[in-house]
C-alpha cells in the first residue's frame, strides 16, 4: 500500500515546488520574500550544479538529485523540475476538456541520436566556453522561468489590473494596478514558442520533450539506467492487460518483453496505481545478473554486454561531462586578471555611443560581464524579483552567449540603493549576494555628464533631477551662471546605479548617462561629518 502512495507523495511535492516557483516568477507585487524563489530554484539541477562547480556556494541540490537518480531513477523530472511538472499540469488540464478522451498510449522506441546530440551539444558548449548559451537555452528550469516570468507574469498583471476596479468598488482596497512588464519581442517569442511546442508535444507524445530534447533528462536517464531501485514488471503477476502502458506518459513500457526503459521513466508512478495486480514496483537491481529481456533499441538494463552501444555512449558522455566540469571550473575560477572579454574598456564602449548595444550593464554582485554570462542561465528569477524592474531581459545585447540574460535598463528605472534582492534570488551564483554596505560601493558603471545637453545650460533654468536621485552624492551641484546650480560628477563615489540617467529630463538625448564597467569596481564610501546649522534657540523669524 505504501508503494501505491508514492504517486500521491510525488504529486504533493511537485505541486508545492511548482506553486512556489511559479509564485516567485509571476510575483508582480513583490509579495514573496526573494529567498523562497531562491531556495526552490537552488533545488534545481542546472543552477545548483552551476553554483557548485563555480564554488559560489555549497549548493547540494545537484548532488542530491544525482544521488537520488542513482538510487531510484529520475525523480527530478516529475517531482522537482517545473518544466516537467508544467507538462503534467497541461495534460491534466487538457483532460478536463469536455468530451476529450484520455490518450491511449503505447510503447515508443527512444530517439537516441537526438537525445545524445542534445546532451553532446550542451556539454560541448560547456567545454568550448559557450556554457552561457547552451545551458541557458536548454536548462528546463530556466526555460520554465522564461515562460513564467516572460509570459505568465505580464498576463497575470493584466488580469490583476482588470480586477482592481471591481475590487475597489466593493471596498477591497488592497488591490492596485501594476504596470505590466513585457520582455522584448525576442525573449517573448522564444518563450511563447517553447510553450506552444510543449503543448503540441504533450498532446502528441507525453513527455517526449523530457526524453528527447532535454539534456538534463538525458543525463539523468543515463544514471537512472543504473539506479539501485528500478521500476520493474513482475512477470508472474502481469496479465498483459496493458493498463500500465496506456497511462505511461514516457511511452517507455515495452509489454511484450515486459521491460521498462528506466532511462526514460520520469518517475511519475502512474503505472503503479494503474496495475490492478500489483505487478509494478521498485526492485533492488544491483548485483543481479539476470537482466530483463531488452527491447531492441532501448537498452533499459546496463551491464549486458561490453559492446553495448548505449553503454559506450554513456562512458563517452560521462567522460565529456567530467571534462566539461573541469573545463568550466577552470574557466570560471580564472580570476579577474585572466585575459577576458572585460578588457575592452569603458571609453571605447562609450565613444561608440553610450546606451548602444555594447554599453550593457550587469547587476551588482555579478562581478564582471564575463563572469556573469558564464554563470547566468537566464532563468529570470531576478527579473521577476527586482522591485524597480531595472533588471530587464535582453535579447542579443550581450551577444549570442548572453541571450535573454538580464541587464540594467535605466530608461524606465534605476537600481535601488538599499536593495540587493537580485542577489538574494539568484540560484546559480551569477549574482552573488553582497552585504548591503558592499553592494553600496560596488561600481557597475560610471556616470558621464555632458554639460552641453543639460537643461541648466540649454534653458538656463534649475533642474538637478540627477543629483536629486544620486544616493551617494557622486552627482552634486555647483553654482552656475545666474544663481543656478549645475550638476557635476565625482567618479570616485559613483556606483553606476542609474538614478541620474533615469531622472535626467533632457530631450532628445539625456545629459547624464551611465556607461558600463565591464569589470565591476569599488567606489569610495561617502564620509560624513555631523551636519550643523547656526544655533537658533528661538524662531529665526
Amino acid at each position: 500500500m505504501l508503494h501505491r502512495r508514492l504517486k500521491l507523495f510525488r504529486v504533493v511535492v511537485a505541486l508545492a515546488i511548482f506553486a512556489g516557483l511559479t509564485a516567485a516568477l509571476v510575483d508582480f507585487r513583490g509579495a514573496l520574500p526573494p529567498r523562497i524563489g531562491h531556495w526552490l530554484a537552488s533545488a534545481q539541477f542546472v543552477p545548483s550544479l552551476m553554483a557548485l562547480l563555480t564554488g559560489t556556494s555549497l549548493a547540494l541540490g545537484a548532488l542530491i538529485i544525482l544521488v537520488a537518480t542513482l538510487a531510484a531513477g529520475r525523480v527530478y523530472c516529475s517531482a522537482i523540475c517545473p518544466l516537467g511538472i508544467l507538462q503534467d499540469v497541461i495534460a491534466h488540464v487538457a483532460s478536463w476538456w469536455p468530451g476529450r478522451k484520455s490518450p491511449r498510449r503505447r510503447y515508443a522506441p527512444p530517439v537516441n541520436w537526438l537525445r545524445q546530440s542534445m546532451l553532446a551539444v550542451t556539454l560541448a558548449g560547456v567545454v568550448a566556453g559557450w556554457a552561457g548559451l547552451t545551458l541557458a537555452a536548454l536548462d528546463p528550469y530556466s526555460n520554465f522561468g522564461r515562460i513564467a516570468s516572460g509570459l505568465f507574469r505580464p498576463l497575470l498583471t493584466l488580469a490583476n489590473n482588470a480586477m482592481v476596479g471591481p475590487a475597489n468598488a466593493i471596498g477591497l482596497t488592497s488591490l492596485y494596478r501594476v504596470e505590466p512588464h513585457w520582455a522584448g519581442t525576442g525573449m517573448l517569442s522564444a518563450s511563447a514558442f517553447l510553450l506552444v511546442l510543449l503543448l503540441v508535444l504533450v498532446a502528441w507524445r507525453g513527455r517526449i520533450y523530457c526524453n528527447t530534447l532535454c539534456p538534463v533528462g538525458t543525463l539523468l536517464g543515463w544514471l537512472a539506467r543504473m539506479a539501485a531501485f528500478r521500476l520493474e514488471i513482475d512477470k508472474g503477476a502481469c496479465t498483459k492487460c496493458a493498463e500500465c502502458l496506456r497511462i505511461c506518459k514516457a511511452h517507455c513500457i515495452e509489454l511484450r518483453s515486459g521491460a521498462i526503459d528506466f532511462s526514460r521513466c520520469v518517475a511519475c508512478y502512474d503505472c503503479i496505481g494503474a496495475c490492478d495486480h500489483g505487478g509494478i514496483g521498485h526492485h533492488w537491481s544491483w548485483r543481479r545478473h539476470q537482466p530483463a529481456a531488452v527491447p531492441p533499441m532501448s537498452d533499459p538494463a546496463p551491464a549486458i554486454a561490453v559492446r553495448d552501444p548505449a553503454r559506450r555512449a554513456f562512458i563517452a558522455g560521462a567522460a565529456t561531462a567530467l571534462a566539461a566540469s573541469f573545463g568550466a571550473s577552470a574557466r570560471l575560477h580564472a580570476g579577474p586578471s585572466a585575459p577576458n572579454r572585460d578588457q575592452p574598456e569603458l571609453d571605447d564602449a562609450h565613444r561608440a555611443g553610450a546606451g548602444n548595444a555594447r554599453n550593457v550593464i550587469c547587476p551588482p554582485g555579478s562581478g564582471s560581464i564575463t563572469r556573469f554570462l558564464d554563470r547566468c542561465t537566464a532563468c529570470q528569477l531576478c527579473v521577476s524579483a527586482c522591485p524597480t524592474h531595472v533588471l530587464q531581459p535582453t535579447w542579443t545585447a550581450y551577444g549570442l552567449d548572453g541571450l535573454m540574460k538580464p541587464r540594467m535598463d535605466y530608461t524606465t528605472a534605476f537600481c535601488n540603493y538599499e536593495c540587493r534582492v537580485c542577489g538574494e534570488a539568484c540560484p546559480s551564483g551569477a549574482i552573488t549576494l553582497l552585504d548591503l554596505p558592499e553592494k553600496q560601493v560596488t561600481q557597475i558603471g560610471e556616470a558621464r555628464f555632458e554639460k552641453e545637453k543639460c537643461i541648466v545650460v540649454v534653458k538656463g533654468t534649475d533642474c538637478a533631477a540627477c543629483s536629486e536621485h544620486c544616493p551617494t552624492k557622486a552627482v552634486y551641484t555647483l553654482p552656475y551662471g545666474d544663481n543656478l546650480r549645475l550638476p557635476t560628477v565625482n567618479r570616485d563615489l559613483c556606483i553606476g546605479c542609474g538614478g541620474c540617467e533615469y531622472a535626467c529630463p533632457a530631450q532628445p538625448a539625456k545629459a547624464i548617462t551611465v556607461s558600463s564597467k565591464r569589470q565591476h569596481g569599488r567606489a569610495k564610501k561617502p564620509v560624513e561629518q555631523k551636519a550643523a546649522l547656526p544655533p537658533a534657540g528661538d524662531f529665526p523669524f
Binding site: 507585487r29 513583490g30 482596497t173 492596485y176 494596478r177 504596470e179 522591485p387 524597480t388 528605472a413 535601488n416 540603493y417 538599499e418 536593495c419 537643461i455 534653458k459 533654468t461 534649475d462 533642474c463 538637478a464 533631477a465 543629483s467 536629486e468 536621485h469 544620486c470 544616493p471 551617494t472 552624492k473 552634486y476 551641484t477 544663481n483 546650480r485 531622472a503 529630463p505 533632457a506 530631450q507 561617502p526 560624513e528 561629518q529 555631523k530 551636519a531 550643523a532 546649522l533 547656526p534 537658533a536 524662531f539 529665526p540 523669524f541
Partner: protein, 315 residues
C-alpha cells in the same frame, strides 16, 4: 485671474478661521469666492497666519498648531473625504529625514477620522520604488494603523489631465484624482535641503501629486512649482521641521545630514510657510526661487513681516 482668486480664497478662509466664524461662515465665504470662472472680488486686507511650534513631540506640536487654528474641525467636516499628502519620496528610514515622519502622518489621519471624515487617503508619486518607499518610510504602516487608505501613487490611470490656465509655463498637467476629488487636502511636507531648488518644503512637495515630474524639471522647475498653485492650493500646509535635512538633499546620504530643530509650522498660506521654512534652513526666502516667484504671482506672501506669526514653545 485664477491665481488671484485662490489667493483671495485663502485669505478669506483664514479670516474666517481667525475670527472663529463657524464653518458655515467659512463655507459661505468660499462660495462667495465662487467657482472656477467666477470673477475675483476685491482683495480684502487680511494677514496670512503662520503657526510656529517648537520643542515638543511631533504629535504634541501638531495638536498645538491645530488648536491655534481653531481645531481640526475647522478644516474637516463630518462625511468629507480627506487627502493627506506627505513627502514619501525616498526609500529611507524615518531618522534620515528624507520623508515626512510617519508619526506625524499617522496622528493627522487619526484626527481627521475623529473629526468625522468619511475617508482619509494617503499617497505620493515617489522617486524611489514605491512599495519599498511606502514601507521603509514607515508611512504606510502608520497611515494604515491610523485608519487611512494608502493609495498607489504610481498608478497612471489614477491621474487626470487638467488645464492650468493661470500657469505661466505649466499649462497642463496630469493630476492625481485624489487631489481633484477630495473635499479636504492636507499638504504635509518635510523640510529639506535640495540640490536643485535649494530647499524643498510645502510648495515643492506638490510635485508629488502630478504624474510627470520630468516635465517640471524640463520646463523651468521653479516656475512650474509656482504655477501649480494657481490651479490648486492645499486646505492646510503642515511642515515637519523636527529634524530637517540640511545638505545632500533631497535624498540625503545618512543621518548625519539632519539637524534637530524640533519645529512644526502650519499655515494656509503656502508661500509664507515656505518662507519661514527657508529661514529655518538659514536662507532668505527670496533666495528660494519658487518662493520668490509665487510671491510675485501673489499666490501667498514671503514677506514674513506681513504675516501674523503665532509662536508656541512647548516644554
Amino acid at each position: 485671474m485664477k491665481s488671484r482668486r485662490d489667493f483671495i480664497k485663502t485669505g478669506l478662509a483664514l479670516g474666517a478661521t481667525l475670527s472663529l466664524v463657524s464653518r458655515k461662515g467659512l463655507a459661505a465665504a468660499e462660495a462667495a469666492a465662487g467657482g472656477a470662472t467666477a470673477p475675483a472680488p476685491a482683495a480684502p486686507a487680511l494677514k496670512s497666519v503662520l503657526i510656529a511650534v517648537r520643542d515638543g513631540s511631533r504629535t504634541a506640536m501638531l495638536d498645538r498648531a491645530l488648536a491655534a487654528l481653531g481645531g481640526i474641525e475647522v478644516f474637516v467636516k463630518k462625511g468629507q473625504t480627506v487627502l493627506v499628502k506627505p513627502n514619501i519620496g525616498w526609500d529611507a528610514p524615518p531618522e534620515r529625514g528624507a520623508n515626512t515622519h510617519p508619526e506625524l502622518v499617522g496622528h493627522l489621519v487619526k484626527l481627521c477620522l475623529a473629526a468625522g471624515a468619511k475617508s482619509v487617503s494617503v499617497f505620493d508619486n515617489t522617486c524611489d520604488q514605491w512599495q519599498r518607499t511606502y514601507e521603509n518610510s514607515g508611512i504606510e504602516q502608520a497611515a494604515r494603523n491610523a485608519g487611512a487608505i494608502v493609495v498607489n501613487g504610481k498608478d497612471g490611470s489614477l491621474y487626470r489631465e487638467v488645464e492650468i490656465p493661470g500657469g505661466i509655463k505649466l499649462k497642463r498637467a496630469k493630476v492625481h484624482a485624489l487631489v481633484l476629488d477630495s473635499d479636504v487636502f492636507f499638504n504635509v511636507p518635510v523640510l529639506k535641503h535640495h540640490e536643485g531648488s535649494l530647499m524643498t518644503a510645502a510648495m515643492k512637495n506638490l510635485m508629488g501629486v502630478i504624474w510627470d515630474r520630468g516635465a517640471y524639471h524640463r520646463t523651468d522647475l521653479h516656475q512650474t512649482i509656482a504655477d501649480f498653485l494657481t490651479f490648486k492650493q492645499p486646505t492646510l500646509n503642515i511642515l515637519d521641521a523636527y529634524h530637517p535635512m540640511v545638505r545632500n538633499g533631497p535624498r540625503g546620504i545618512s543621518v548625519e545630514d539632519v539637524v534637530e530643530k524640533r519645529t512644526l509650522l502650519a499655515s494656509t498660506d503656502i508661500v509664507a510657510l515656505d518662507a519661514a521654512g527657508a529661514k529655518l534652513l538659514d536662507h532668505q526666502p527670496a533666495d528660494v526661487r519658487h518662493v520668490r516667484i509665487a510671491d510675485q504671482m501673489k499666490l501667498g506672501t514671503m514677506d514674513l513681516d506681513q504675516v501674523e506669526i503665532r509662536r508656541f514653545k512647548l516644554t
